[in-house]
């Protein structure tokens, strides 16, 4: 937003003003259990924002690890997988066993993590299949492709697919075993700029509320015009986006007012908890060793 002109003594809160004159008749939405996972209702490749949140409350040794350990450990493991030649079968099986063991220790549903991480495969697959042709263009026809595959190009395809899948799985393992608050705190302590941590915090906090408003607007649209197509559909979606935008803007103003009322001076106060314990050191060592093992063999 362009900085709005500040008239004397009036920071201006049209959000509130308009709310009184327009929204005043609408009750605030009640959200008793909107955090329950509703993966089926929004057909979309991006996961429902809260689908994993309930999993983060499980109690397990992995959940108990410091968030920084998990982030760094996962990163090291992913680097090990990504920076090295495509895994040989034995290595891949060992890695899979390791990840399965971690998932079991974390008391998380393996099937769900596997299917969710497999979401990377379609995109990765399309590129992976073409990859053996390489940057020099090759003969880009079925003949060229077939000979590329037969000539060992399938290793490249395997490499891309396996790396993508393993890495996705590692990240999901971290995401499903770490509470949002701890994840954000860890990022802050890992020196991610404050602006980003604040953005990430607000996204995870308000996406549920906004998502629900979006759903009601969409339901209203669909109930009133179930057969909308093409341009008309897009125009309606545009209005929904605009409506939600204005409401979010006004909400932003109210949130800022609430923050300022409690003394906000520009930086979010930090309560840093958590110390690295022996379990954390052990985990990091294990991740590092695995990465090295993959790299060396």
């Amino acid at each position: 937003m362009s900085p709005r002109p500040h008239t004397h003594g009036d920071p201006g809160l049209p959000g509130v003003h308009r709310e009184e004159h327009r929204h005043a008749g609408q009750p605030a939405h009640r959200h008793p259990h909107h955090h329950r996972a509703e993966t089926g209702t929004v057909p979309h490749e991006h996961a429902h924002p809260t689908s994993f949140e309930s999993l983060t409350y499980t109690v397990s040794p992995i959940h108990a690890l410091d968030a920084r350990t998990k982030i760094v450990g996962a990163t090291v493991l992913i680097l090990g997988v990504v920076l090295t030649p495509p895994l040989r079968l034995a290595e891949a099986l060992l890695l899979a066993a390791l990840l399965a063991a971690l998932t079991a220790t974390a008391r998380l549903p393996v099937g769900r993590l596997v299917t969710r991480s497999a979401a990377v495969l379609p995109f990765a697959g399309t590129i992976a299949l073409l990859a053996p042709l390489g940057a020099d263009g090759g003969s880009w026809n079925i003949g060229g492709l077939m000979s590329a595959w037969a000539g060992g190009g399938l290793v490249i395809t395997w490499g891309i697919l396996s790396k993508a899948w393993f890495s996705a799985f590692c990240m999901l393992l971290v995401a499903a075993s770490t509470r949002r608050a701890d994840l954000l705190g860890a990022l802050r302590r890992l020196k991610v700029p404050e602006v980003f941590v604040m953005l990430l915090s607000f996204i995870t906090r308000y996406v549920g509320v906004l998502g629900e408003q979006l759903r009601s607007l969409r339901t209203a649209m669909v109930s009133r015009a179930p057969t909308l197509r093409g341009r008309a559909l897009l125009r309606s979606l545009g209005s929904i986006a605009g409506n939600l935008f204005v409401r979010s803007y006004e909400r932003g103003e109210r949130i800022h007012a609430a923050m300022v009322s409690r003394g906000y001076t520009g930086t979010l106060p930090i309560t840093t908890r958590g110390r690295l314990r022996s379990a954390d050191i052990l985990f990091m060592a294990m991740a590092a060793l695995s990465a090295f093992a993959i790299a060396l063999y």
């Binding site: 009184e20 005043a24 608050a181 949130i255 106060p269």
Partner: protein
Amino acid sequence: MEARNRHGLIELHGVTHRYPDGTEALRGIDLTVAEGRSLALLGPNGAGKSTLLLHLNGILRPTTGSVRVDGAEVTSATVRDVRRRVGLVFQDPDDQLFMTTLYEDVAFGPLNGGATPDEVDRLVHTALHEVGLADAASRPGHHLSFGQRKRAALATVLVMEPRVLVLDEPTANLDPRSRRQMVALLASLGTTALVATHDMDVAWELCTDAAVIDDGTIVAAGPKERILTDAALLEAHGLEMPWAVRTGAADAPATIAP
């Protein structure tokens, strides 16, 4: 308003507020909230209640007129102090629970005020205990039910130990049980308060005084016994008599003020 020799805890004199687009939200408001009293601010939607409330802790400044809190005028210099003394609880709890856990939300005020981690811990647990949410500290605020979130939002303000509590529609959209819980909780606080509401029964139950605002001006103010029994006045401004008054039920046992 009953005359008081000492100054009111909150005083508005001739406050007008004009928005940048020219709309006049407040036209010459004179209002006093005396210490030890609780004032119900009543009025139809669009009357200016929320705008008025935002003047009480300096978020909005009057176009003309003055706002005084505990004897001091609200200016850029005094505003930080004012915000510690005036605890403003907004209508939508989602706007006030913006951190990742309830603990962090309640700790926000004290931390910004420079309290040490130990003090913060003590204050947070006291406040959560006061509103009955002691065991929800490590959960995200938005995982609570609506009624719990209203109480959580209250805790984020109570933790700062304000001199006067300002509440915007504390019982709006609450189911009957949550509403009773909230009313009981507020009644137990024993603090000077200003409650903006259209819930006439809450006004009658919790407050000692009442003021009616319509179209940006205060049309009547005084003890609740006088204001909330005046059927003609109430109807003229889109309000109704409290149920207790209409049926002649006994007075509520406790108000929010001590």
